[in-house]
Protein backbone atom coordinates (compact mmCIF):
# COMPACT_ATOMS: atom_id res chain seq x y z
CA UNK A 1 0.00 0.00 0.00
CA UNK A 2 1.01 3.58 -0.44
CA UNK A 3 2.67 5.14 2.53
CA UNK A 4 0.26 7.49 4.24
CA UNK A 5 2.08 10.77 3.95
CA UNK A 6 0.81 13.56 6.13
CA UNK A 7 2.94 15.96 4.19
CA UNK A 8 1.53 15.06 0.78
CA UNK A 9 0.53 18.61 0.11
CA UNK A 10 -0.24 19.72 -3.40
CA UNK A 11 -0.03 23.39 -4.23
CA UNK A 12 -0.30 25.45 -7.39
CA UNK A 13 0.77 29.07 -7.56
CA UNK A 14 -0.06 31.63 -10.22
CA UNK A 15 -0.43 29.05 -12.95
CA UNK A 16 -0.67 30.36 -16.50
CA UNK A 17 -1.03 27.90 -19.39
CA UNK A 18 -2.90 27.30 -22.60
CA UNK A 19 -2.88 25.72 -26.04
CA UNK A 20 -0.85 27.19 -28.87
CA UNK A 21 -1.37 30.91 -28.55
CA UNK A 22 -4.62 30.68 -26.66
CA UNK A 23 -4.17 31.36 -22.97
CA UNK A 24 -6.66 29.40 -20.89
CA UNK A 25 -5.40 29.71 -17.31
CA UNK A 26 -4.82 33.24 -16.10
CA UNK A 27 -2.98 32.69 -12.85
CA UNK A 28 -4.59 29.93 -10.81
CA UNK A 29 -3.53 29.24 -7.24
CA UNK A 30 -4.81 26.47 -5.05
CA UNK A 31 -3.73 24.27 -2.21
CA UNK A 32 -4.73 20.74 -1.28
CA UNK A 33 -3.86 19.09 2.02
CA UNK A 34 -2.61 15.53 2.31
CA UNK A 35 -5.47 13.02 2.11
CA UNK A 36 -7.96 15.68 1.17
CA UNK A 37 -10.49 15.43 -1.66
CA UNK A 38 -10.83 18.73 -3.45
CA UNK A 39 -13.32 19.34 -6.23
CA UNK A 40 -12.67 21.62 -9.15
CA UNK A 41 -15.85 22.84 -10.74
CA UNK A 42 -16.76 25.43 -13.32
CA UNK A 43 -18.30 25.88 -16.72
CA UNK A 44 -17.01 24.40 -19.95
CA UNK A 45 -13.89 26.22 -21.01
CA UNK A 46 -13.18 27.55 -17.52
CA UNK A 47 -9.85 25.75 -17.59
CA UNK A 48 -10.45 22.79 -15.27
CA UNK A 49 -9.03 20.12 -17.57
CA UNK A 50 -6.27 22.43 -18.69
CA UNK A 51 -5.23 22.91 -15.08
CA UNK A 52 -4.88 19.17 -14.51
CA UNK A 53 -2.98 18.72 -17.79
CA UNK A 54 -0.58 21.53 -16.95
CA UNK A 55 0.24 20.39 -13.42
CA UNK A 56 0.85 16.85 -14.67
CA UNK A 57 3.11 18.09 -17.46
CA UNK A 58 0.87 17.09 -20.37
CA UNK A 59 1.05 20.66 -21.66
CA UNK A 60 3.74 23.23 -20.88
CA UNK A 61 3.37 25.65 -18.02
CA UNK A 62 3.79 29.25 -19.18
CA UNK A 63 4.12 30.81 -15.76
CA UNK A 64 3.75 29.77 -12.15
CA UNK A 65 4.79 26.79 -10.09
CA UNK A 66 3.55 23.44 -8.95
CA UNK A 67 4.55 22.15 -5.50
CA UNK A 68 4.17 18.52 -4.64
CA UNK A 69 5.63 17.01 -1.48
CA UNK A 70 7.37 20.31 -0.91
CA UNK A 71 9.25 20.08 -4.21
CA UNK A 72 8.86 23.03 -6.52
CA UNK A 73 8.33 22.13 -10.18
CA UNK A 74 8.32 24.65 -12.97
CA UNK A 75 8.42 22.19 -15.85
CA UNK A 76 6.91 18.92 -14.66
CA UNK A 77 6.83 15.95 -17.04
CA UNK A 78 4.34 13.08 -16.69
CA UNK A 79 7.13 10.60 -16.02
CA UNK A 80 8.62 12.76 -13.30
CA UNK A 81 5.22 13.29 -11.69
CA UNK A 82 4.48 9.55 -11.78
CA UNK A 83 7.80 8.82 -10.10
CA UNK A 84 7.00 11.44 -7.49
CA UNK A 85 3.78 9.59 -6.64
CA UNK A 86 1.22 11.52 -8.66
CA UNK A 87 -1.11 10.01 -11.24
CA UNK A 88 -3.52 11.52 -13.72
CA UNK A 89 -6.69 9.98 -15.13
CA UNK A 90 -7.70 11.88 -18.27
CA UNK A 91 -11.17 13.03 -19.14
CA UNK A 92 -13.93 10.49 -19.47
CA UNK A 93 -12.06 7.45 -18.11
CA UNK A 94 -9.93 7.02 -21.16
CA UNK A 95 -8.48 3.52 -21.54
CA UNK A 96 -6.61 1.74 -24.34
CA UNK A 97 -9.76 0.50 -26.07
CA UNK A 98 -8.01 -1.98 -28.38
CA UNK A 99 -6.10 -3.64 -25.56
CA UNK A 100 -7.35 -6.15 -23.04
CA UNK A 101 -7.89 -5.27 -19.38
CA UNK A 102 -4.65 -6.98 -18.46
CA UNK A 103 -2.68 -5.18 -21.20
CA UNK A 104 -4.18 -1.89 -20.05
CA UNK A 105 -2.97 -2.43 -16.51
CA UNK A 106 0.44 -3.45 -17.81
CA UNK A 107 0.60 -0.16 -19.68
CA UNK A 108 -0.46 1.68 -16.55
CA UNK A 109 2.46 0.05 -14.77
CA UNK A 110 4.97 0.49 -17.60
CA UNK A 111 7.11 2.83 -15.49
CA UNK A 112 7.40 0.27 -12.70
CA UNK A 113 10.91 -1.20 -12.44
CA UNK A 114 10.10 -4.92 -12.31
CA UNK A 115 7.48 -7.40 -13.49
CA UNK A 116 7.01 -8.35 -9.88
CA UNK A 117 6.01 -4.78 -9.07
CA UNK A 118 3.49 -4.83 -11.90
CA UNK A 119 2.01 -8.08 -10.60
CA UNK A 120 1.72 -6.67 -7.09
CA UNK A 121 0.17 -3.50 -8.44
CA UNK A 122 -2.37 -5.53 -10.37
CA UNK A 123 -3.29 -7.56 -7.31
CA UNK A 124 -3.84 -4.34 -5.41
CA UNK A 125 -6.12 -3.06 -8.17
CA UNK A 126 -8.07 -6.34 -8.17
CA UNK A 127 -8.43 -6.01 -4.41
CA UNK A 128 -10.21 -2.72 -4.99
CA UNK A 129 -12.09 -3.74 -8.13
CA UNK A 130 -12.68 -7.51 -8.17
CA UNK A 131 -14.88 -7.06 -11.26
CA UNK A 132 -11.80 -6.31 -13.33
CA UNK A 133 -10.19 -9.61 -12.47
CA UNK A 134 -13.06 -11.47 -14.12
CA UNK A 135 -12.53 -9.50 -17.32
CA UNK A 136 -8.77 -9.76 -17.66
CA UNK A 137 -8.83 -10.87 -21.28
CA UNK A 138 -11.73 -8.72 -22.42
CA UNK A 139 -11.03 -5.85 -24.79
CA UNK A 140 -11.29 -2.62 -22.80
CA UNK A 141 -13.44 -1.03 -25.51
CA UNK A 142 -16.19 -3.53 -24.79
CA UNK A 143 -16.39 -2.84 -21.04
CA UNK A 144 -19.40 -1.13 -19.49
CA UNK A 145 -19.11 2.50 -18.40
CA UNK A 146 -18.65 1.58 -14.76
CA UNK A 147 -16.02 -1.03 -15.52
CA UNK A 148 -14.21 1.39 -17.76
CA UNK A 149 -14.04 3.86 -14.90
CA UNK A 150 -12.60 1.16 -12.64
CA UNK A 151 -10.01 0.30 -15.28
CA UNK A 152 -9.07 3.94 -15.84
CA UNK A 153 -8.60 4.33 -12.09
CA UNK A 154 -6.80 1.00 -12.00
CA UNK A 155 -4.32 2.17 -14.65
CA UNK A 156 -3.40 4.98 -12.27
CA UNK A 157 -3.67 3.06 -9.00
CA UNK A 158 -1.33 0.29 -10.13
CA UNK A 159 1.48 2.74 -9.32
CA UNK A 160 0.15 3.30 -5.79
CA UNK A 161 0.11 7.08 -6.21
CA UNK A 162 -0.40 9.41 -3.28
CA UNK A 163 -1.91 12.13 -5.43
CA UNK A 164 -4.72 11.45 -7.87
CA UNK A 165 -5.68 13.99 -10.51
CA UNK A 166 -9.04 12.94 -11.90
CA UNK A 167 -10.69 14.57 -14.88
CA UNK A 168 -14.44 13.98 -14.92
CA UNK A 169 -14.65 10.36 -13.83
CA UNK A 170 -18.43 10.53 -14.16
CA UNK A 171 -18.40 11.45 -17.86
CA UNK A 172 -20.40 9.03 -19.94
CA UNK A 173 -21.83 7.17 -16.96
CA UNK A 174 -25.55 6.55 -16.51
CA UNK A 175 -26.95 8.79 -13.72
CA UNK A 176 -27.32 6.03 -11.11
CA UNK A 177 -23.67 5.06 -11.64
CA UNK A 178 -22.35 8.56 -11.09
CA UNK A 179 -22.58 8.60 -7.31
CA UNK A 180 -21.26 5.04 -7.27
CA UNK A 181 -18.22 6.09 -9.29
CA UNK A 182 -17.57 9.11 -7.11
CA UNK A 183 -18.10 6.97 -4.04
CA UNK A 184 -15.28 4.72 -5.21
CA UNK A 185 -13.01 7.73 -5.45
CA UNK A 186 -13.91 8.83 -1.94
CA UNK A 187 -13.34 5.34 -0.57
CA UNK A 188 -9.91 5.07 -2.19
CA UNK A 189 -8.88 8.43 -0.78
CA UNK A 190 -10.08 7.53 2.67
CA UNK A 191 -8.59 4.01 2.80
CA UNK A 192 -5.09 4.90 1.73
CA UNK A 193 -4.94 8.58 2.59
CA UNK A 194 -4.64 9.76 -1.00
CA UNK A 195 -4.77 13.39 -1.97
CA UNK A 196 -7.37 13.80 -4.70
CA UNK A 197 -8.07 16.67 -7.07
CA UNK A 198 -11.24 15.92 -8.98
CA UNK A 199 -12.70 17.87 -11.88
CA UNK A 200 -16.42 17.36 -12.22
CA UNK A 201 -19.47 18.64 -14.07
CA UNK A 202 -21.84 16.71 -11.81
CA UNK A 203 -21.60 19.41 -9.17
CA UNK A 204 -24.11 18.19 -6.62
CA UNK A 205 -22.67 14.69 -6.59
CA UNK A 206 -19.08 15.79 -6.28
CA UNK A 207 -19.90 18.15 -3.42
CA UNK A 208 -20.94 15.08 -1.43
CA UNK A 209 -17.48 13.55 -1.58
CA UNK A 210 -15.27 16.64 -1.58
CA UNK A 211 -14.16 18.44 1.53
CA UNK A 212 -13.33 21.65 -0.21
CA UNK A 213 -14.11 23.09 -3.58
CA UNK A 214 -12.60 25.53 -6.02
CA UNK A 215 -14.73 27.18 -8.67
CA UNK A 216 -12.92 28.19 -11.84
CA UNK A 217 -14.21 30.91 -14.11
CA UNK A 218 -12.39 32.22 -17.18
CA UNK A 219 -9.15 30.65 -16.05
CA UNK A 220 -9.23 32.12 -12.56
CA UNK A 221 -10.37 30.88 -9.17
CA UNK A 222 -13.67 32.62 -8.49
CA UNK A 223 -14.53 30.80 -5.29
CA UNK A 224 -12.67 28.66 -2.80
CA UNK A 225 -14.14 27.19 0.34
CA UNK A 226 -15.55 24.17 2.11
CA UNK A 227 -17.91 22.03 0.07
CA UNK A 228 -20.57 22.40 2.74
CA UNK A 229 -20.80 26.09 1.99
CA UNK A 230 -22.15 25.30 -1.47
CA UNK A 231 -24.68 22.70 -0.40
CA UNK A 232 -27.18 25.50 -0.05
CA UNK A 233 -28.71 25.79 -3.51
CA UNK A 234 -28.84 29.58 -3.64
CA UNK A 235 -25.21 29.95 -2.59
CA UNK A 236 -24.15 27.44 -5.23
CA UNK A 237 -26.03 29.31 -7.90
CA UNK A 238 -24.41 32.53 -6.77
CA UNK A 239 -20.81 31.35 -7.14
CA UNK A 240 -21.37 29.03 -10.04
CA UNK A 241 -23.59 30.96 -12.40
Amino acid sequence: MAEANQNGIFRVEGLVAGYGKKQVLNGVSLEVEGGEVVALIGHNGAGKSTLLKAVFGMIPIWQGEVYWDGVKRRKPTPREMLHAGAAYVPQGNRVFTDLSVRENLEMGGITLPTKQAVREGMERVFGLFPALKERLKQRAGTLSGGEKQMLALGNALILAPRLLLLDEPSLGLAPPLVSQALGRVQQISKDSHKTVVIVEQKVREVLKIARRVYVLRMGRVSFAGPADALKDESRLREVYL
Partner: protein, 291 residues
Protein backbone atom coordinates in the same frame (compact mmCIF):
# COMPACT_ATOMS: atom_id res chain seq x y z
CA UNK B 1 8.94 -26.64 -61.81
CA UNK B 2 6.53 -26.48 -58.87
CA UNK B 3 9.38 -26.67 -56.40
CA UNK B 4 10.92 -23.66 -58.07
CA UNK B 5 7.65 -21.74 -57.72
CA UNK B 6 7.50 -22.54 -54.01
CA UNK B 7 11.11 -21.46 -53.50
CA UNK B 8 10.54 -18.32 -55.56
CA UNK B 9 7.47 -17.56 -53.44
CA UNK B 10 9.51 -17.83 -50.28
CA UNK B 11 12.18 -15.57 -51.75
CA UNK B 12 9.58 -12.96 -52.79
CA UNK B 13 7.84 -13.26 -49.46
CA UNK B 14 11.09 -12.68 -47.57
CA UNK B 15 11.58 -9.32 -49.33
CA UNK B 16 8.03 -8.28 -48.56
CA UNK B 17 8.37 -9.49 -44.96
CA UNK B 18 11.52 -7.41 -44.49
CA UNK B 19 9.96 -4.37 -46.11
CA UNK B 20 6.64 -5.02 -44.32
CA UNK B 21 7.93 -5.25 -40.75
CA UNK B 22 10.26 -2.29 -41.25
CA UNK B 23 7.35 -0.28 -42.61
CA UNK B 24 5.05 -1.52 -39.86
CA UNK B 25 7.25 -0.37 -36.98
CA UNK B 26 7.02 3.40 -37.59
CA UNK B 27 3.53 3.10 -39.09
CA UNK B 28 2.10 1.38 -36.03
CA UNK B 29 3.42 4.17 -33.80
CA UNK B 30 3.01 7.29 -35.93
CA UNK B 31 -0.07 6.08 -37.85
CA UNK B 32 0.58 7.58 -41.24
CA UNK B 33 1.83 6.18 -44.54
CA UNK B 34 5.46 7.25 -44.56
CA UNK B 35 6.74 7.10 -48.15
CA UNK B 36 10.26 7.94 -47.01
CA UNK B 37 10.53 4.25 -46.12
CA UNK B 38 11.31 3.64 -49.79
CA UNK B 39 14.18 6.11 -49.60
CA UNK B 40 15.61 4.39 -46.52
CA UNK B 41 15.55 1.13 -48.49
CA UNK B 42 17.44 2.63 -51.41
CA UNK B 43 19.87 4.62 -49.26
CA UNK B 44 20.79 1.48 -47.31
CA UNK B 45 21.51 -0.24 -50.61
CA UNK B 46 23.54 2.68 -52.01
CA UNK B 47 25.58 3.00 -48.82
CA UNK B 48 26.50 -0.66 -48.99
CA UNK B 49 27.17 -0.32 -52.72
CA UNK B 50 29.53 2.63 -52.30
CA UNK B 51 31.44 1.06 -49.44
CA UNK B 52 31.70 -2.42 -50.91
CA UNK B 53 32.18 -1.49 -54.55
CA UNK B 54 33.96 1.87 -54.57
CA UNK B 55 35.78 1.97 -51.25
CA UNK B 56 36.30 -1.79 -51.33
CA UNK B 57 35.36 -2.33 -47.73
CA UNK B 58 34.45 -5.64 -46.23
CA UNK B 59 30.91 -6.58 -47.33
CA UNK B 60 29.69 -7.14 -43.79
CA UNK B 61 30.98 -3.75 -42.76
CA UNK B 62 29.31 -2.17 -45.79
CA UNK B 63 26.02 -3.87 -44.87
CA UNK B 64 26.20 -2.66 -41.28
CA UNK B 65 26.94 0.87 -42.47
CA UNK B 66 23.91 0.71 -44.77
CA UNK B 67 21.71 -0.19 -41.82
CA UNK B 68 23.13 2.60 -39.68
CA UNK B 69 22.84 5.29 -42.34
CA UNK B 70 19.22 4.36 -42.97
CA UNK B 71 18.46 4.32 -39.25
CA UNK B 72 20.03 7.75 -38.97
CA UNK B 73 17.88 8.95 -41.86
CA UNK B 74 14.77 7.76 -40.01
CA UNK B 75 15.75 9.62 -36.86
CA UNK B 76 16.59 12.83 -38.75
CA UNK B 77 13.36 12.74 -40.76
CA UNK B 78 11.28 12.25 -37.65
CA UNK B 79 13.00 14.91 -35.58
CA UNK B 80 13.21 17.52 -38.32
CA UNK B 81 9.97 16.94 -40.20
CA UNK B 82 7.39 14.55 -38.79
CA UNK B 83 7.69 15.40 -35.10
CA UNK B 84 7.22 19.10 -35.73
CA UNK B 85 4.20 18.47 -37.90
CA UNK B 86 2.65 16.01 -35.48
CA UNK B 87 3.09 18.42 -32.59
CA UNK B 88 0.91 20.99 -34.32
CA UNK B 89 -1.79 18.37 -34.86
CA UNK B 90 -1.20 17.85 -38.59
CA UNK B 91 -3.48 15.19 -40.08
CA UNK B 92 -2.20 11.82 -41.24
CA UNK B 93 -2.96 12.79 -44.82
CA UNK B 94 -0.76 15.88 -44.73
CA UNK B 95 2.01 13.83 -43.12
CA UNK B 96 1.64 11.34 -45.97
CA UNK B 97 2.07 14.14 -48.49
CA UNK B 98 5.07 15.53 -46.63
CA UNK B 99 6.72 12.11 -46.59
CA UNK B 100 5.95 11.65 -50.30
CA UNK B 101 7.63 14.97 -50.98
CA UNK B 102 10.65 13.96 -48.90
CA UNK B 103 10.77 10.64 -50.75
CA UNK B 104 10.86 12.32 -54.16
CA UNK B 105 13.57 14.67 -52.92
CA UNK B 106 15.74 11.87 -51.57
CA UNK B 107 15.25 9.72 -54.65
CA UNK B 108 16.30 12.62 -56.86
CA UNK B 109 19.36 13.24 -54.74
CA UNK B 110 20.34 9.61 -55.33
CA UNK B 111 19.76 10.10 -59.07
CA UNK B 112 21.89 13.24 -59.12
CA UNK B 113 24.75 11.71 -57.22
CA UNK B 114 24.82 8.21 -58.71
CA UNK B 115 22.86 8.56 -61.94
CA UNK B 116 19.90 6.44 -62.95
CA UNK B 117 21.91 3.59 -64.39
CA UNK B 118 21.61 0.25 -62.68
CA UNK B 119 24.62 -0.74 -60.63
CA UNK B 120 25.39 -3.84 -58.68
CA UNK B 121 27.54 -5.08 -55.88
CA UNK B 122 29.89 -7.66 -57.31
CA UNK B 123 29.62 -10.10 -54.46
CA UNK B 124 30.33 -13.22 -56.42
CA UNK B 125 30.27 -15.54 -53.44
CA UNK B 126 26.75 -14.31 -52.71
CA UNK B 127 25.60 -15.51 -56.12
CA UNK B 128 26.65 -19.09 -55.61
CA UNK B 129 23.62 -21.24 -56.28
CA UNK B 130 22.38 -24.22 -54.36
CA UNK B 131 19.81 -26.79 -55.27
CA UNK B 132 17.05 -27.19 -52.72
CA UNK B 133 14.47 -29.89 -53.45
CA UNK B 134 15.26 -29.54 -57.12
CA UNK B 135 14.94 -25.77 -57.08
CA UNK B 136 17.71 -23.22 -57.46
CA UNK B 137 18.50 -20.59 -54.86
CA UNK B 138 21.47 -18.26 -54.35
CA UNK B 139 23.44 -17.75 -51.17
CA UNK B 140 22.22 -14.14 -50.99
CA UNK B 141 18.64 -15.36 -51.17
CA UNK B 142 19.23 -17.85 -48.41
CA UNK B 143 20.70 -15.04 -46.32
CA UNK B 144 17.67 -12.87 -47.07
CA UNK B 145 15.19 -15.58 -46.06
CA UNK B 146 17.11 -16.41 -42.89
CA UNK B 147 17.34 -12.75 -41.94
CA UNK B 148 13.61 -12.25 -42.48
CA UNK B 149 12.83 -15.26 -40.33
CA UNK B 150 15.12 -14.25 -37.47
CA UNK B 151 13.94 -10.66 -37.62
CA UNK B 152 10.29 -11.62 -37.33
CA UNK B 153 11.03 -13.65 -34.20
CA UNK B 154 13.21 -10.96 -32.61
CA UNK B 155 10.77 -8.14 -33.38
CA UNK B 156 7.82 -10.14 -32.11
CA UNK B 157 9.61 -10.74 -28.80
CA UNK B 158 10.79 -7.14 -28.66
CA UNK B 159 7.33 -5.65 -29.24
CA UNK B 160 5.70 -8.04 -26.78
CA UNK B 161 8.18 -8.05 -23.93
CA UNK B 162 10.47 -5.06 -23.85
CA UNK B 163 9.48 -1.79 -22.21
CA UNK B 164 10.26 0.29 -25.30
CA UNK B 165 8.53 -2.21 -27.59
CA UNK B 166 5.36 -2.09 -25.55
CA UNK B 167 5.63 1.67 -25.33
CA UNK B 168 5.48 1.70 -29.14
CA UNK B 169 2.23 -0.23 -28.98
CA UNK B 170 0.82 2.17 -26.39
CA UNK B 171 1.69 5.27 -28.41
CA UNK B 172 0.18 3.70 -31.52
CA UNK B 173 -3.05 2.92 -29.73
CA UNK B 174 -3.49 6.22 -27.90
CA UNK B 175 -0.78 8.87 -27.96
CA UNK B 176 -2.33 10.99 -25.24
CA UNK B 177 -2.98 8.13 -22.85
CA UNK B 178 0.52 6.78 -23.45
CA UNK B 179 1.84 10.12 -22.24
CA UNK B 180 -0.37 9.88 -19.15
CA UNK B 181 1.22 6.58 -18.13
CA UNK B 182 4.70 8.08 -18.40
CA UNK B 183 5.73 7.28 -21.97
CA UNK B 184 7.26 9.98 -24.15
CA UNK B 185 5.35 9.73 -27.45
CA UNK B 186 7.90 11.88 -29.29
CA UNK B 187 10.91 9.82 -28.23
CA UNK B 188 9.08 6.54 -28.83
CA UNK B 189 8.13 7.64 -32.35
CA UNK B 190 11.72 8.63 -33.12
CA UNK B 191 12.91 5.26 -31.85
CA UNK B 192 10.39 3.50 -34.09
CA UNK B 193 11.56 5.48 -37.12
CA UNK B 194 15.19 4.74 -36.28
CA UNK B 195 14.58 1.00 -35.87
CA UNK B 196 12.17 0.75 -38.79
CA UNK B 197 14.36 2.64 -41.23
CA UNK B 198 17.45 0.77 -40.08
CA UNK B 199 15.63 -2.44 -40.96
CA UNK B 200 14.43 -0.93 -44.24
CA UNK B 201 18.08 -0.23 -44.95
CA UNK B 202 18.89 -3.84 -44.12
CA UNK B 203 16.19 -4.97 -46.56
CA UNK B 204 17.77 -2.68 -49.15
CA UNK B 205 21.25 -4.06 -48.55
CA UNK B 206 20.01 -7.63 -48.91
CA UNK B 207 18.15 -6.70 -52.07
CA UNK B 208 21.29 -5.10 -53.45
CA UNK B 209 22.98 -8.50 -53.27
CA UNK B 210 20.21 -10.00 -55.39
CA UNK B 211 19.11 -7.30 -57.79
CA UNK B 212 20.45 -4.09 -59.30
CA UNK B 213 20.84 -0.91 -57.30
CA UNK B 214 18.76 1.93 -58.78
CA UNK B 215 17.38 5.09 -57.12
CA UNK B 216 13.77 3.84 -57.39
CA UNK B 217 14.51 0.39 -55.99
CA UNK B 218 12.65 1.13 -52.73
CA UNK B 219 9.34 2.03 -54.33
CA UNK B 220 8.07 -1.42 -55.19
CA UNK B 221 8.96 -3.13 -51.88
CA UNK B 222 7.40 -0.17 -50.06
CA UNK B 223 4.13 -0.43 -51.97
CA UNK B 224 4.03 -4.16 -51.21
CA UNK B 225 4.84 -3.39 -47.57
CA UNK B 226 1.92 -0.97 -47.40
CA UNK B 227 -0.40 -3.60 -48.85
CA UNK B 228 0.91 -6.15 -46.35
CA UNK B 229 0.25 -3.76 -43.46
CA UNK B 230 -3.28 -3.01 -44.69
CA UNK B 231 -4.30 -6.61 -45.27
CA UNK B 232 -2.54 -7.48 -42.04
CA UNK B 233 -5.00 -5.25 -40.22
CA UNK B 234 -2.17 -3.13 -38.80
CA UNK B 235 -0.90 -5.84 -36.48
CA UNK B 236 2.62 -7.22 -36.49
CA UNK B 237 1.76 -10.84 -37.18
CA UNK B 238 -0.93 -9.74 -39.61
CA UNK B 239 1.68 -7.84 -41.59
CA UNK B 240 3.89 -10.92 -41.70
CA UNK B 241 0.95 -13.01 -42.92
CA UNK B 242 0.08 -10.36 -45.47
CA UNK B 243 3.65 -10.38 -46.75
CA UNK B 244 3.60 -14.18 -47.07
CA UNK B 245 0.28 -14.03 -48.91
CA UNK B 246 1.68 -11.45 -51.34
CA UNK B 247 4.86 -13.44 -51.97
CA UNK B 248 2.98 -16.63 -52.73
CA UNK B 249 0.17 -15.02 -54.72
CA UNK B 250 2.67 -13.22 -56.95
CA UNK B 251 4.48 -16.39 -57.83
CA UNK B 252 1.58 -18.80 -58.02
CA UNK B 253 -0.51 -16.27 -59.94
CA UNK B 254 1.82 -16.39 -62.92
CA UNK B 255 1.07 -20.06 -63.43
CA UNK B 256 -2.20 -18.91 -64.93
CA UNK B 257 -1.53 -15.28 -65.75
CA UNK B 258 1.11 -13.61 -67.92
CA UNK B 259 4.16 -12.43 -65.94
CA UNK B 260 3.38 -8.73 -66.33
CA UNK B 261 0.37 -9.30 -64.07
CA UNK B 262 2.61 -9.99 -61.09
CA UNK B 263 2.14 -6.52 -59.59
CA UNK B 264 -1.52 -6.35 -60.48
CA UNK B 265 -2.19 -9.54 -58.51
CA UNK B 266 -1.15 -7.79 -55.30
CA UNK B 267 -3.53 -4.93 -55.83
CA UNK B 268 -6.36 -7.27 -56.73
CA UNK B 269 -5.78 -8.93 -53.35
CA UNK B 270 -5.76 -5.51 -51.71
CA UNK B 271 -9.09 -4.60 -53.34
CA UNK B 272 -10.51 -7.94 -52.31
CA UNK B 273 -9.53 -7.29 -48.69
CA UNK B 274 -10.71 -3.69 -48.65
CA UNK B 275 -14.10 -4.68 -50.04
CA UNK B 276 -14.73 -7.89 -48.15
CA UNK B 277 -12.55 -7.83 -45.08
CA UNK B 278 -11.35 -4.33 -44.27
CA UNK B 279 -10.10 -5.37 -40.84
CA UNK B 280 -7.63 -7.65 -42.61
CA UNK B 281 -6.11 -10.44 -40.59
CA UNK B 282 -6.43 -8.47 -37.40
CA UNK B 283 -9.05 -10.60 -35.69
CA UNK B 284 -7.25 -13.92 -35.96
CA UNK B 285 -3.78 -13.25 -37.24
CA UNK B 286 -2.24 -16.49 -35.97
CA UNK B 287 -4.82 -18.80 -37.47
CA UNK B 288 -4.41 -17.27 -40.90
CA UNK B 289 -0.67 -17.67 -40.68
CA UNK B 290 -1.07 -21.16 -42.06
CA UNK B 291 -2.00 -19.92 -45.54
Amino acid sequence: MNEQIIVNSIISASVVVLAGVSFFLPFSVARFFHFTHGAAFAIGAYTAFVLAQKVRCNLWFAAAAGVLVSAFLGIILDVLVFRRMQRTGTSAFVLLLASLGAYVLLQNILSLVFGDAAMSIAATHAWKTFAVMGARITAAQVLQITTALILVIILRLYLKNSATGRAMGAVGHDRFLAQCVGISPARTTTLAFGCGYGLAGLAGVLSALNVDVVPTMGMNPMMLAMVAVIIGGNTFLGTVCGALLIGFAQNFGIIWLPTQWQSAIVFIILLFFLLLRPQGFSNRPVKKATI
